[in-house]
Symmetry: C2
Subunit: 339 residues, 2 copies
Amino acid sequence: MPVGTQATVKGLTIDQVRATGAHMILGNTYHLALRPGHETVRKLGGLHGMTGWDGPILTDSGGFQIFSLDAINDISEEAATFRSHLDGAVIRLTPEHSIEIQESLGSDVAMVLDHVVALPAERDLVQDAMERSIRWAGRCLNAATREDQAKFAIVQGGLDVELRTQCARELASMDFQGYAVGGLSVGEAPSEMYRITAATCPELPEDKPRYLMGVGRPIDLLESVARGIDLFDCVMPTRNGRNGLAFTDGGSLKFKNAIHREDNRPIDETCPCLACKHSRGYLRHLFNAKEMLGPILLSIHNLTYYQTIMQGARAAIERGEFDAYLAEKKRGWGEVASA
Amino acid sequence: MPVGTQATVKGLTIDQVRATGAHMILGNTYHLALRPGHETVRKLGGLHGMTGWDGPILTDSGGFQIFSLDAINDISEEAATFRSHLDGAVIRLTPEHSIEIQESLGSDVAMVLDHVVALPAERDLVQDAMERSIRWAGRCLNAATREDQAKFAIVQGGLDVELRTQCARELASMDFQGYAVGGLSVGEAPSEMYRITAATCPELPEDKPRYLMGVGRPIDLLESVARGIDLFDCVMPTRNGRNGLAFTDGGSLKFKNAIHREDNRPIDETCPCLACKHSRGYLRHLFNAKEMLGPILLSIHNLTYYQTIMQGARAAIERGEFDAYLAEKKRGWGEVASA
């Protein structure tokens, strides 16, 4: 899912998002609740009405942003309290309020409010946050009033397999339409993330989507698919694109580098995206001249690339050749062995 | 002509430029000669190859930028000398070199190098610059080697009708494919610009295009069409769009204004552009949240609006109803009388 934090995938018109091959996009509850405010979003027709996106939209719960604002928050059993990064206003977010906001935003999938802890952390702290996340998940389910909005639970438990599997089993026994693995991609080694994902997925229902939140690099997506994940969101394709980096099957290209100056080749001649109708030399010029079109074109390319590798993964799974697909991609990316 | 100073109409992909209805775009010789350099542009397939634009492209000569850099330039009969705004390098531009650069850029229309003076100015200075512009126009014509590139001359002469008509007559006797009125829209009153345009156009060949450089507001375009102008370029639609201003038949809307916060109406329900598929409230949110998509969408809208009023002008001329068309537009814009 391309990330549309503030009700826009940065730099792209909604038809350009669609042209990348994306089926589903994400919005951030925390940011939208602060600006323009969820009541305003509702009056403007919800995220669908504002953005014009006619596919499904998932909203996060605000939990991860509370975690990102660690220094200025206080979490009790009742609520998370923190300060707005915009104006310093004190905000109190309960599981019930997170659902109320997401119902106003009008997303198709709402995430439960969870308690994320910074890693590494004491086991007691991780366990406490995990157990609170389960109780909060139940409160979210009880608070929901919209039948047309799916609810996804979030598995917590840090890097502890025992806590993760306990959390996954308890959430799996509750009536959610999908399950996320949260609290990862927060600085731990990829191998740790893969280990936790591999241990968690078997505990989740086979017939419901599994979503690894905030991940990641192309290799992280495929390694996680290998471990049972279906759904991802990440700002990497757009953020790295804005910073001049393009993903390809042969690794990444940096367009702030002068080597591309007179290169007439496209990023990838097999890629159908708009950026690949231009030369590397032109893209290099756009970044060198600080033109908006550089970030726009590389965001389009990277989102298209992410969709392409995921389409390739789906096709390889259907052919029963996913392992070979993963190995081939890793060779191209210069990754020598599975982490 | 939408302005693509650095080989990109700021914020728009080339298919978005095409979708505004534009037939022809402009690039700036001064900027492109400095970065990425005209030899690099040539190696990357010229402006057409870089941008992917398949319609005609016009390049200016660098004359206006020399004028904008007034404080740091020296103009002799042989050349204009000035410092690069990028790295301070001393650049010497002759009429011959301007044509050589434009031939490398591969534009379809090259402008002659002219000597623009800041207004108001002493008559002697204006006359001297005008006469030099005529001599330089001749040198440009002699220097040209590409048969596939049209050359347009530029009429100078400040706000002096006698000097303007003298310049226009002399240039009209030379073999150019088109004629521009230059040195206007530099701070003088619109009425002065209209007066000079009205006096100059009758001296130019009827069967060749007439181009008013660097103009302007929607009303300036139509008032100048009334006086005989065919072709315009201006950064206003994109620059004002980036700053949150949208042009409409009812005047302009400022999207940094909170009045639009919960407004579900589009900018203009009759406009076919992408921005008008969204609500004013969404556009307001994008500007408030400093999202790239705000500038992108308003640039698209404003370019579409400029093309729409020019299409309307062409149709009205063919019906013989241009005066009524102009009067109607002026009523909408809140302009009470012809300047």
